[in-house]
Symmetry: C2
Subunit: 317 residues, 2 copies
DNA sequence: AATCATTTGTGACGTGAATTCAACATGGCC
DNA sequence: GGCCATGTTGAATTCACGTCACAAATGATT
């Protein structure tokens, strides 16, 4: 059923056009409407308002007093509608405030370096970059995009893969000296781990055992709210942590952190995604532009760990 | 052909309702629309603007930046539309400037006395009373109502009869002394008349000859632009004039003007009408109110002329 | 984890309101 | 008085819009 039988905006538009052009036929031509269409529309408007707006003969149109007042208001209102829609539609060109939420390691190391170039390319965009590792509700946080590592929870969110990062379980030398380096995943039960204060999609750490992947995790001695905090804890010798190679690569090369159980999880990786809220409606252009920009420019080096002759680890590739 | 398929005002209204009530379903209930209807409408709007206005899950709605701006503007625009229509529709209660055009004799003697009461009853109406006897174009003069005596030219104008006035052909005593009182209409050819500067629907003066009505008119010695001017000319002895009894009754009773040829036109009358511009669209309330007021209160006395015993004329009835 | 209640999204469909078409009135101009 | 342009009216037509039924998703509840 047609509930909205009155299009006030169309009525106003036609009315204004009629007044401007001084005739139903002229207005009709401009509006691609037949004269009779115009006539009925105006009559409808007048009937609804309960008063006459235009005195008309076949030759002349004159506005009643109501008509004049209504005309002036209508012109203003139409202009404002136009502007409102134009401004809203300007979301079709990248501009406005873009809110990005990223996990801390990736944000620090891979997103922030790109920001200057992005802002340079889109001067009308201002950017709010929030770094958190906790799970967030995109809508509640009013974030346009979130960048997350690891498996995604199913939802109506759309994820665009930005890259992959190898993971490594590491410990500080002084920690390993105290607790002995684990030889098998089962040894982890005797170790101390660094966990997370927020729930992750996977509980433990994946290790390969033949063809199968098993999860194991040392009992947590501490929990960190983000990857950087976890790294610091690991550096401090609190326990073992599973972190991204792009994050702790330098620490490994410098010998501040030592990979363990490498042979059990050589292919342990986590995908990194930009996540946003789906295609039920067109995406604001600034969001689209940012995601495209990330997908194009983010290069997560995916180095492998090799043990050098002197026993030290190197990142190669 | 291109139809008016977009109803921007409705879209705005639905959008605002959704934001206010915080949900498609709630808004739908208020607007007597199904949730899916609301969903489609919003999607349509977003598609047209090319950007998303509302981030939505089944549980929460959040406005995008564009959505917030659009919401604020939309609220204002809707309010202004409301006000524009309300003000225009307030033509449904009598108010505003009412322009009335009346011929001079009737206007002076019968309309003006009623004005104070009318304005008292309708305090929001201001009145422009223009007195002219010349034919006017209602629309060109931007007049709402015209009051005219005599036959009307056919047009799309609507006429409402206000009354009837007996007419009389009169001359001043000094004129009649010089030219002799006419005994038959044919005698008028030897007389001098007072005509009009503007064309009238009937050319001459109607006289009964048996069952038939003939027209006759004395050659004009002067033309007047209005009835009052004609009366003055007649009083001055310029010639014969055909004037309304309500106009010159006092002159006749006082002997300043003398009726002639009374036996040939005892029923000579002219109807007096209020004329306005037809029912293609509703009439502004002030116009309707004024016409109704006139029709109710105007009482054109329709006296007959009687010759008293002393030879003087009296108005009776 | 699993169920339930609630809400939004999608495709097919039918309705009816709006527009067109054709014919007629009106006004101004020569 | 006839011609041309314009506005109006009634009936036929059509196409956008909302409904319907169903699917998917979300958050609360146990």
């Amino acid at each position: 059923m047609a509930r909205f039988d009155l299009n006030r905006s169309a009525e106003m538009e036609v009315f204004v056009r009629v007044v401007d052009l001084g005739g139903f036929t002229h207005a009709g031509r401009k509006l691609r409407l037949t004269p009779s269409g115009v006539s009925k529309l105006i009559s409808r408007l007048e009937a609804r308002l309960g008063t006459r707006l235009i005195n008309r003969t076949t030759r002349k149109l004159t506005l009643t007093e109501e008509g004049q007042a209504f005309y002036q208001r209508a012109v203003r209102i139409l202009a404002e509608m136009e502007e409102a829609e134009r401004e809203a539609a300007s979301g079709a060109a990248p501009r406005g405030r873009l809110t990005v939420n990223s996990n801390i390691p990736f944000g620090m190391l891979h997103v922030m370096p790109l920001i200057p170039r992005f802002l340079e390319q889109h001067p009308d965009v201002t950017l709010d970059l929030v770094l958190t590792d906790t799970l967030i509700d995109l809508m509640q946080e009013r974030a346009d995009v979130a960048i997350r590592a690891g498996p995604l929870r199913t939802s109506r969110l759309v994820a665009r893969k930005l890259g992959t990062s190898r993971m490594a379980v590491v410990g500080a030398p002084n920690y390993l000296a105290r607790f002995r380096t684990p030889k098998t995943p089962a040894d982890l039960a005797e170790h101390r781990g660094i966990g997370w204060t927020f729930p992750r999609a996977i509980r433990g750490w994946p290790f390969k055992r033949g063809d199968r992947t098993e999860e194991a995790v040392p009992p947590p001695a501490a929990r960190a709210s983000d990857g950087e905090a976890a790294r610091r804890l690991a550096l401090g010798g609190v326990g073992l942590a599973r972190l991204a190679l792009f994050h702790i690569g330098p620490d490994i090369e410098a010998g501040r952190l030592v990979p363990v159980l490498q042979s059990y999880n050589p292919g342990d990786r986590e995908d990194i995604h930009a996540v946003y809220v789906g295609h039920t409606a067109p995406l604001p252009a600034r969001v689209r532009a940012f995601i495209d920009f990330l997908a194009e420019h983010v290069r997560v080096g995916d180095p492998a760990l090799k043990r050098a002759g002197d026993g030290r680890w190197k990142l190669v590739g």
